[in-house]
């Protein structure tokens, strides 16, 4: 009696969250799966086309252009960012830095800055018209431009790394702080030096957080949107197209091309792809943990 009453209470507690969750997550996904089976044609209006949108998507060079771009971006940017974050966390945890507190705050601060403000600042800083690169070019007589079709992606990498290294650093740092200090003392008594402690205690302690940070970083970079989207109105001839990333492409299809069925198919394919990658990373990461 008492137990069944408590079961009802549990359901009542999760009810408000669940109702909104269904409205905000489940129904939109189901609805877009439904929409992705329709095409808006000039002749005949909205018609049911089965999986035509998906077939079209996999043959669409613009989709592949963006997809390959974000995947290569992820492959380069995520390792650079996470290795920097690990290095910073180890440096701070070593207690050998002057001004540790200040460093920790300064590195994490960019995480609190909105993408629009971050992109504006970096766009101006790196831009050749008003920015530091412009001044440097004038001083040195060079003509380096961070926003050409070849270099824009690197500049975006500079922005994304700036924004998220500190966030990841704090996750690693928290994992290091969770290691009992006695472990280091025991190792030191056994004659281990600092590098040995890093290699055989600290780095293994980061394994779990590494899986989490890899997953969240991949989710973040695969859905790259804000920086390139804002840059289009900030710098010209940057090479940012209407299909520069899959999300920019989906946005333009849905809101300027009114091809909502096609956009829905694209969004779903990217979501499935992202979740698949996240699961693979998780399974591989966890397997390594068990192997140990």
């Amino acid at each position: 009696m008492n137990l069944s009453k408590r079961r009802t209470a549990g359901l009542a507690f999760i009810a408000p969250f669940s109702v909104l969750f269904v409205l905000v997550f489940i129904i939109p996904i189901a609805y877009s799966a439904y929409l992705s089976l329709f095409q808006n044609r000039l002749i005949g209006g909205n018609s049911f086309v089965w999986f035509d949108n998906y077939a079209k998507l996999f043959r669409d060079p613009q989709f592949w252009d963006g997809a390959i771009r974000v995947v290569s971006f992820t492959a380069v940017q995520v390792p650079i960012m996470l290795l920097s974050a690990i290095a910073l966390a180890l440096a701070i945890d070593s207690l050998r830095l002057y001004g540790t507190r200040f460093i920790r705050i300064a590195v994490f601060l960019p995480y609190a800055i909105p993408a629009i403000v971050a992109t504006l600042m970096w766009g101006f800083l790196l831009g050749i018209r008003y920015g530091l690169i412009g001044s440097l070019n004038n001083a040195l007589g060079t003509s380096f431009n961070p926003f050409t079709p070849e270099t824009t992606m690197i500049s975006i990498g500079v922005m994304v790394t700036w924004a998220f290294t500190g966030y990841n650093m704090l996750i690693f740092y928290a994992a290091l702080r969770a290691v009992p200090r006695e472990l280091y003392e025991a190792a030191a008594i056994d004659g281990a030096n600092e590098w040995t402690i890093v290699r055989s205690i600290k780095l293994p302690a980061l394994r779990g957080s590494l899986v989490v940070t890899i997953i969240f970083s991949i989710i973040g970079t695969l859905q790259l949107f804000n920086e390139p989207k804002i840059l289009t109105s900030l710098v010209s001839n940057s090479g940012i197209t209407s299909y520069y990333t899959p999300n920019i492409y989906a946005y333009n299809l849905a809101f300027t091309g009114s091809q909502q069925g096609y956009a829905a198919a694209l969004a779903l394919v990217m979501a499935v792809f992202t979740i698949a990658i996240a699961y693979i990373v998780q399974i591989k990461g966890m397997k390594n943990v068990f192997d140990k």
Partner: protein, 309 residues
């Protein structure tokens, strides 16, 4: 979960304290390294440079901005003029955007944190039908890309006729799966079962138990989740971008971008980069304050998140 492991998990939420070992002094307070500090300082410079640039350039008039070196001050100290101009440009719409942002943040962060606390507590301390399915679905939704979701949300909200209203921005922000997850982990550690049993024996109802016993114990996690929601809603760009057409409902992020586009469209608009830069500075000040004053809670939130595996 055994009591020892739950105590170990709660540890990061307290103020961290290092054991001051006397024998192994080099471990607890080793010699500072200038070289390591210098290398790290380079990264710190990378992190702070744009912000320094922003502060300096918000003190310049438009003319000085165009003519002077990026990291040097201009001829006139125009910060106050710029702030006045930001608040009076386009009939003072900036104050409206600020107010909108505050409303979206207060309601969004408040409701989502409360719902996350209710749900997380129920997951940790109650048994109910479909608990496993609920947990797996919500945890799975954390890895659904927000933008992949926003387009379907837009299409659905358009059907419901609530796009271009504040509800279109508010309703999605009420749900914070990661917050629910943090609350679940935290409830499991911080709310002792014995206390709940004692209250039940005294005849207290489940809701009263939650509000008078559990919720106060969840306070540290509540602040953490509030803070994360505050930043993510304040900084939200994509969702309001697609949901809102009427500038009167814009949050700051979309408003600033609109001003930025105004200045850059093909030369016929007056350049207002000084306003774009000063409004950017005004936009990040509340975030920086919240962030600096509540640092402890960031740390503990990330610590809890990292334990996930």
């Amino acid at each position: 979960m055994s009591s020892t492991s739950s105590r170990a998990r709660v540890a990061p939420l307290r103020t961290p304290r290092r054991p001051s070992g006397k024998k192994l002094h080099f471990l607890s307070s080793p010699k500072k390294s200038p070289v390591l500090t210098l290398v790290t300082a380079l990264f710190v410079l990378y992190c702070l440079l744009p912000l320094i640039w922003l502060v300096i350039n918000s003190t310049k008039s438009q003319a000085d901005f165009v003519s002077s070196f990026g990291l040097a001050f201009g001829d006139h100290f125009a910060l106050w003029d710029n702030i006045v101009a930001v608040f009076s440009f386009q009939g003072g719409i900036f104050s409206r955007w600020l107010l909108n942002t505050v409303i979206y943040v207060v309601l969004g962060a408040g409701v989502s944190t409360f719902l996350a606390a209710l749900g997380g507590y129920a997951l940790a301390k109650h048994d109910f039908v479909g608990k496993r399915v609920f947990l797996l679905t919500v945890l799975g939704s954390i890895s659904v890309p927000g933008i992949a979701l926003a387009i379907p949300q837009f299409l659905l909200f358009a059907q419901l006729g609530i796009t271009n209203t504040p509800w279109a921005v508010l309703i999605p922000s009420f749900i914070n799966p990661f917050g629910l997850f943090l609350m679940w982990v935290f409830s499991a550690q911080a709310v002792p079962d014995g206390l709940l049993e004692a209250a039940r024996i005294d005849g207290a109802g489940e809701f009263r138990i939650f509000f008078t016993i559990a919720f106060p114990l969840l306070a540290p996690a509540t602040v953490t989740v509030l803070l994360f929601s505050f930043v993510s809603i304040w900084n939200n760009y994509f969702l309001p971008l697609i949901m809102l057409k009427d500038p009167n409902w814009y949050p700051l992020t979309i408003g600033i971008n609109q001003w930025n586009m105004l200045g850059s469209t093909a030369g016929n608009g007056a350049l207002i980069q000084n306003l774009v830069i000063t409004s950017s500075l005004l936009t990040i000040i509340p975030l920086v304050i919240a962030f600096l004053s509540l640092q402890r809670y960031w740390q503990s939130g990330l610590a809890l998140g990292a334990i996930k595996d």
